[in-house]
Symmetry: C2
Subunit: 219 residues, 2 copies
């Protein structure tokens, strides 16, 4: 199974309207400056949150200068954070789609999902949680642009789970409701695992979510 870091490394560089990116077709080309900046911003804000991440640190991690950052993101730190949240959205959506597609049984897919999240957390020594939570939480009531981007991400992840459930025979309304709780529980369990430095919340979330979805399946 692919870890999250591996997934980030293998994500196509031109997937987010990259104006200075590489032309499509050439395999494994080096990413452009803008792409490196977005990646660094997303990774750092995922671990430290919005306020603890300095633009200077982002530029260093991305091997770019401060001037380049403000060239690509004239809106400053806020605009950069919105791009980072969008990147996190795509990253997590990729993992979600990948695992949901690989496992036909929705119940087994849920436990595979929690296993994958637990693996990513352990591999990063409990540093890399959800790619958007840390950024969104500290800015929720303060910076509406970032809050909106995070809300859109949550909606998209919910939609992916809902599609899987309806495709498995769960009626429309119930699938949407269940998908919402699945995302909530995944978020909360990953948060709890990160704070307690123990994958137990994620493991239990997997078994309990499986039990819950089975109820809507067997009828």
């Amino acid at each position: 199974m692919k870890t999250r870091a591996q997934h980030r490394a293998t994500t196509a560089p031109s997937s987010a309207g990259d104006s200075a990116g590489n032309s499509p077709g050439a395999p494994a080309e080096a990413p452009g400056t803008r792409e490196r900046i977005v990646r660094a911003a997303s990774a750092l804000m995922q671990r430290q949150g919005y306020d603890a991440t300095a633009i200077k640190q982002i530029s260093q991690e991305a091997d770019a200068t401060l001037g380049s950052v403000y060239h690509f993101f004239p809106g400053g730190k806020q605009e950069l954070a919105v791009a980072a949240v969008h990147r996190g959205d795509e990253e997590f959506s990729g993992i979600l789609r990948e695992i949901l597609d690989a496992e036909p049984d929705p119940v087994a897919a849920l436990t595979a999902l929690t296993d994958s999240l637990a693996e990513g957390l352990r591999d990063s020594d409990w540093a890399d949680g959800c790619p958007v939570t840390a950024t969104a939480l500290g800015t929720a009531g303060r910076l509406p642009d970032i809050q909106r981007a995070a809300a859109a991400a949550f909606d998209r992840w919910q939609g992916l789970v809902r599609e899987k459930l309806t495709a498995s025979g769960v009626p429309g309304d119930e699938a949407a409701d269940l998908a919402c709780t699945v995302i909530s529980t995944l978020e909360g369990a990953e948060l709890a695992a990160q704070v307690t430095r123990d994958d137990r919340p994620l493991r239990l979330a997997g078994t309990h979510l499986a039990r819950l979805v089975s109820l809507s399946l067997d009828r």
Copy 2:
């Protein structure tokens, strides 16, 4: 039902080893300086997180001077954050205990709990989420003291739910596992509700958690 702000205002001032607090017995006495500082720190970090909250802002909100803050917390911002997390722990434990004790049926108690959390979020215009999440998340891998305090809080909340479940007839191991997922889901649903500015995640978490607990009860 009491809202969270009301709960904070009516919490006894001398509940956390308050060395400069009021003597017990006198009703509704004005809180001391140290108490006001802890309250302000807890409230501000709950909304903004650790890094976005300046000590100067805390001192202003608490009607204290910067010198007073460093007098009571010579360990600086970090020590202050640990005290704020402890206060958030006690605050949330109080709400938990109150609702769990008032409702004998554990299934009904869970929906009452999500209703209460939704009410607190709506009343604060989606600003006041979990009292420790925002503080813990941004500092998890960086400041071990704060991370430990947050982990202890999660454990305590889990213990309260577990006691309620075992008292209702759920076998020991299963009660502990269920309690873990209950806390995870509550945390995640509150987070999702805050980010999306919609209480739907909390409402659905209530009905789905009720369904899940019923499974372990009817046998």
